[in-house]
């Protein structure tokens, strides 16, 4: 039932607006709204009840194991939430003067410093509001760099075929063409293809390392050398930073610019789709181009760096200073981990992934890269199961939901058929991993015995499999006044 169906004309059982009408008399009629929007007219209780019950229909970290590869669904400490929501921090206006902002700015400054240390970059801007905007900032900086040198003929950004969709989309948003580089059977970039692609038209390359294939690109130094020799710069998609915290730093690998997904590695919540934060770090030469605003310190006081102080900046990415509340959560998280805690993140997320991979292989599932060490995530392909049992990766995924677990990422990266990208994260206990492995085995057995049971899944959720084709074809994107639903 939709909230609109709890609505009755004239119902106003709530204390959320002042009593009585206030005057709008000085606003001429012609500017005024004639017809009230048909928003729900419900009591406070009805709203609370509706949205409380609705929430219970979600899977989430707080309720289920959620091994969604590339998404780093780890536990979001509750202290990060309450401390970012302290009244003083929540009430600060983004344009408050520095005199009334030193507390907030100090946290932002320290976060910049922490992220520099962790990534090995020379400077960090916290401005981007998610990973994709971080990518945008990064590629825009690469472009600004070439432009500033008068090197304006570089039109291409290289992107491995395994890359996340945001990578090529970002290249295009920055006015570049995205050129795909194939991956070898062992999961590493095809060096011959890379060499062939590099040239005076190369502005740069976007890499995730470990890649979205769940393996570490071993020849990263050689790639860096080749790209740099061709005059290009290296962009690091930091979505997988969780895998290497305190183990290896993108700056040391030779990257010129990097974004971080704080909503992954730094455990800010995903909120059912956002908000996130995608700070960018750069090497020395890109520093002038960082997006504004940034926080600087003269040792005691903090102040903002704006257009005036950073004339070569690619500019602003948002009306204010990005997703400040998310940044505060990441800051709290970083402070709770400390240096040692950071490294443990990489260690235990890698341990968990390798353990699962090993156990799944022992159980007869097929690793996509059996010869490789898994990083914090890994891929199995259900090609064999699809062929032999007629039950594909999507069926496995849906049936896992009935086992009370969220499905891994399916059908991504695109180059692996019947792909399951599995990322357990460091915050899951061994029993969760074992339960997942058991569930996979059970589903395979069930598929042999009763494939329709698997293909008809999920059975235990509020709805069974949804008709996506109908959804796209007979677009129904909003409630229409007057209707009542089933």
């Amino acid at each position: 039932m939709l909230i609109f169906e709890h609505s009755r004309p004239g119902r106003r059982a709530r204390a959320q607006a002042p009593a009585g009408e206030a005057a709008l008399a000085d606003i001429p009629e012609s500017f005024r709204r004639k017809k009230r929007p048909r928003l729900p007219e419900v009591s406070e209780m009805q709203a609370v009840r509706h949205y409380t019950r609705l929430s219970q229909k979600n899977f989430s970290i707080d309720t289920q194991f959620y091994p969604l590869g590339s998404c780093t669904m780890k536990y979001n400490p509750r202290a990060c939430n309450s401390l970012a929501m302290l009244p003083g921090l929540l009430g600060r206006h983004p344009l408050a003067p520095d005199t009334h902002s030193q507390g907030f700015m100090s946290a932002m400054y320290e976060l910049q410093e922490i992220l520099k240390e962790v990534t090995g970059m020379s400077a960090v801007s916290l401005a981007p509001m998610a990973g994709a905007q971080g990518e945008f900032a990064g590629i825009a900086m690469i472009r600004a760099y070439h432009d500033a040198r008068g090197d304006t003929e570089r039109k291409e950004i290289l992107v491995p075929d395994a890359a996340h969709g945001t990578n090529p989309a970002t290249a295009v948003m920055c006015g570049y063409q995205a050129r795909e580089i194939p991956t070898k059977a062992d999961g590493d970039v095809d060096m011959e293809a890379l060499k062939a692609a590099l040239g005076p038209q190369t502005a740069g390359i976007m890499l995730t390392n470990p890649s979205t294939l769940g393996v570490f690109e071993r020849r990263i130094e050689e790639i860096a050398r080749l790209v740099h020799e061709a005059g290009g710069l290296l962009y690091y998609d930091g979505a997988n930073l969780n895998a290497i915290l305190g183990r290896v730093r993108p700056g040391d690998m030779g990257f010129d610019v990097i974004h971080m997904n704080l909503h992954k590695t730094f455990s800010t919540p995903h909120g059912g789709g956002g908000p996130g934060a995608g700070p960018v770090g750069v090497s020395q030469r890109l520093q002038p181009f960082l997006p504004i605003p940034m926080v600087a310190s003269d040792g005691s006081d903090y102040h903002w760096l704006q257009e005036e102080e950073m004339p070569q900046s690619i500019g602003r990415l948002s009306a204010f200073a990005g997703n400040a509340g998310v940044l505060l959560r990441a800051y709290v998280y970083a402070k709770m981990l400390g240096g040692e805690g950071m490294q443990r993140v990489a260690d235990y997320s890698t341990l968990n992934a390798n353990y699962m991979l090993k156990k799944l292989m022992e159980a007869g599932f097929t690793a996509a890269y059996p010869e490789r060490r898994a990083t914090h995530e890994f891929i199995i392909t259900l090609k064999k199961e699809a062929k032999e049992l007629g039950v594909n990766a999507m069926d496995f995924a849906k049936r896992l939901l009935d086992h009370g677990m969220h499905a891994p990422t399916t059908y991504f990266p695109l180059l692996v058929p019947e792909c399951f990208l599995i990322e357990p994260t460091e915050t899951e206990a061994k029993e969760s991993l074992d339960a997942f492995i058991q569930a996979m085995i059970a589903i395979r057995e069930e598929a042999a015995r009763d494939p329709e049971r698997v293909k008809g899944a999920p059975w235990s959720l509020p709805v069974r499999r949804l008709d996506d084709v109908k959804a796209a074809r007979e677009l129904d994107l909003r409630w229409q006044p007057g209707e009542t639903s089933t």
């Binding site: 009230r36 956002g274 341990l351």
Partner: protein, 466 residues
Amino acid sequence: MPFIPHTDEETREMLDAIGVDSMDDLFEEIPANLRCGDLSALGPGLWEQEVSQLMQEKARADGQPLCFIGAGAYDHHIPAAVWQLATRGEYYTAYTPYQAEASQGTLQLLYEYQSMMTELMAMDVSNASLYDGASALAEAVLMAVRANRKSKSRRILVPRGLHPHYRATVHTLVKNQGIELVEAPYDEKTGQTDLDALKRHQGGDFAALVIPQPNFFGVLEPVDEMTAFAQANGMLAIALVNPLAMAVLQPPGEWGEKGVDIACGDGQPLGAPLSSGGPYFGFMCCTQKLVRQMPGRIIGRTVDLEGREGFALTLQAREQHIRRSKATSNICTNQGLMVTAATLHMSLLGAEGLARVAARCHENLGMLVEKLTSLGEIEPAFSAPVFHETVLRLPLEAKRVLRTLAAHNVLGGYDLSRHYPELGNALLVCTTENRSESDMNKYRQKLEQVLASRRQGACATMAKLD
């Protein structure tokens, strides 16, 4: 080990199962010379109590000044239920609803949100959010360039009365695609976009016109005329609006003859705390015709195998994870939780509640302006009607006034001199329903002192006040 549940025995057992000796072995594929292993510069981890003391100190350091700044971020009352519900783990810690069956809570909520936003904007369709208002406007510009069938132009007409940070953000986000922003001046008397100046661009080749309502000065634009002008000249009309204002002002879907093509803005006034500027959320609505050009996630209602109603992400072929380099935008993570809050906020206030709050904000502005102008020497800069925010002209530099007020814990508004030097000593002030009459009296009183000390030409007094 905070947050890592492994006991020593389990770790050992798992390493054995994998067949390695130590954690280090798990990283053997990383070239040895690259391995670091020391982040000790970050210091030791703090426990909850320590980090909580730390954050409380920081929060205290920022004080809780009396704030009359608006300028795109508004201090509204947020119903207590909003964040108590939005931070429920099931909303707070879920991912984007890729597995629809396990995400019906979020999906239905987003569908309800889309329904509410289309009602509020009087538009056909809505997406499920973009980052913030400024970047949403940039996306609208990109969308307009893609979608305009009448013009292949990459030029956009943008009023000078648009929020300067929005202008800057749009510029950052569109310039690499060769899109150019052309400024349309405002009328110095009214503060509205100068229609005559606009008409000089008649027939000129533009993909779209941006129409802010209210504009950065709080001034109400002649939206009907501007929309009509745009559409008569082959431009798409892009509305940029304050969603709370739309509870009482004519919504973009009704501007001009047939409404604007795209409406966007920042959803902050609908349940997002000021929070230093974010997270807020960008919203975007458009006409049915343009839906396939719209960036961002969209939720559709459909049925399951048994014919039961259900909700799912739809039109994913627009998005980067499917279309990659041909996607409508690179956006992936959006601002879902803020949309959750906004949906709760709108449900708890309803149309009537939003209208009352809007009216109260605006009424308060009238009260404040009267109090301040009654001091003499201070007057409104513009003659056109405004909504809950306005520009005042001061007899001395706004920066100096603001500094002195701030020393008394009053944030008196936003100094326009940096972005609008032509306006002289101009100050943008705002009131919401959260500013009481006694707050305004405090403002007036402090301002009176500033003015008095200036009249005495007494730097000494100023210094004392500082």
